[in-house]
């Protein structure tokens, strides 16, 4: 493991343990009250969901261009994280919406495009798991569609009619709400780095095992 891994993992664990206290100290939002505090885990999850889609897409492009299996391993690890953080986003959002909007789900541009992106992530993992030999390149092409959806998800709330909060909410947050949010964003970014590295490590070791089996067969 690289030198940065252990300190970052410890820091991430400590920040994750502290985050409920930081969130509890945040001010209540005037119209939504207590339920608005779901936002402090929902939004960082959503950002990591989008970052994972971009990492998966970029690594897939590099794999398609160079054929280097290291990029393929990174893409697979990021694809798995896309599905995990996408699930967190798509569950915490409706729990907040039930109170704020009066319904768990509406089919607007933001929610629908996020669901489509998550389903592309699931399709990527299913293809990798059951696609057989050569499915890596097909899955890499699928990951490009997942990445292409990211800007659409981000700007959807600004261009289409929706009741989902706009992207302008974040820069306008007062310090008492902004600090907990950025604390959680940093925590989730560190968590993403740690999990990505661990997951890539699993694939690296698996590749070594496969190589050893091949060398044994050749004897």
């Amino acid at each position: 493991m690289p030198k940065w891994f252990t300190p970052v993992a410890i820091m991430c664990g400590a920040m994750l343990a502290l985050s409920p206290l930081v969130i509890a100290s945040a001010d209540y939002e005037s119209t939504m009250g207590l339920v608005q505090k779901i936002f402090y885990y929902h939004m960082p999850s959503a950002w990591i969901f989008l970052i994972a889609a971009v990492v998966c897409g970029v690594a897939s492009i590099r794999y398609l261009v160079t054929g280097d299996p290291r990029h393929d391993r990174t893409a697979l690890a990021a694809g798995e994280l896309l599905v995990v953080f996408g699930l967190l986003t798509l569950v915490t959002g409706p729990l907040w919406a039930r109170k704020a909007w009066g319904t768990f789900w509406i089919w607007d541009a933001r929610t629908t495009s996020s669901l489509v992106s998550w389903m592309i992530g699931c399709a990527y993992l299913i293809l990798r798991r059951y696609g057989g030999p050569g499915s890596e390149k097909l899955a890499a092409a699928l990951a490009l569609f997942g990445m292409a959806n990211v800007p659409f998800i981000y700007i959807s709330v600004n261009y289409w009619r929706t009741i989902h909060p706009a992207t302008s909410v974040v820069p306008k947050l007062p310090f008492t709400m902004g600090f907990p949010l950025w604390f959680c964003v940093i925590t989730f970014v560190l968590l993403f780095m740690v999990l990505l590295k661990l997951r890539v490590r699993v694939e690296e070791q698996q590749a070594r095992v496969d190589t050893l089996y091949l060398s044994l067969d050749e004897r």
């Binding site: 779901i38 915490t92 109170k99 699993v202 070791q205 089996y213 044994l216």
Partner: protein
């Protein structure tokens, strides 16, 4: 192949459920009722939703970390076993 069929069945059920949810229309409102006049069972509390959301995030993250750690341990154990076999000159 069996697993693939199972996945297809799960996805089909999920898509049918999604279409049913999409087809649902909210009922028209005939009168406005102040929230404090609602019966207690219809007043939606925020705390269960908030606790549910945080519990879900922490449980999913814990399960994922556990799953990755278990996979890493298994693959490292297999690697050590193969290394030992190769050093002994035999087949694993």
């Amino acid at each position: 192949m069996k697993t693939m069929k199972r996945w297809c069945a799960v996805l089909s059920v999920w898509m049918v459920w999604g279409m049913m949810v999409a087809a649902q229309q909210p009922t028209r409102q005939d009168e406005f009722v102040p929230i404090d006049q609602l019966p207690p069972q219809e007043q939606l509390a925020a705390a269960p939703l908030l606790i549910g959301a945080y519990a879900f995030v922490l449980v999913v993250l814990f399960l994922y970390v556990y799953s990755v750690a278990r996979r890493l341990t298994n693959v490292q154990r297999e690697l050590e076993r193969l290394d030992t076999s190769i050093k002994q000159g035999g087949r694993a």
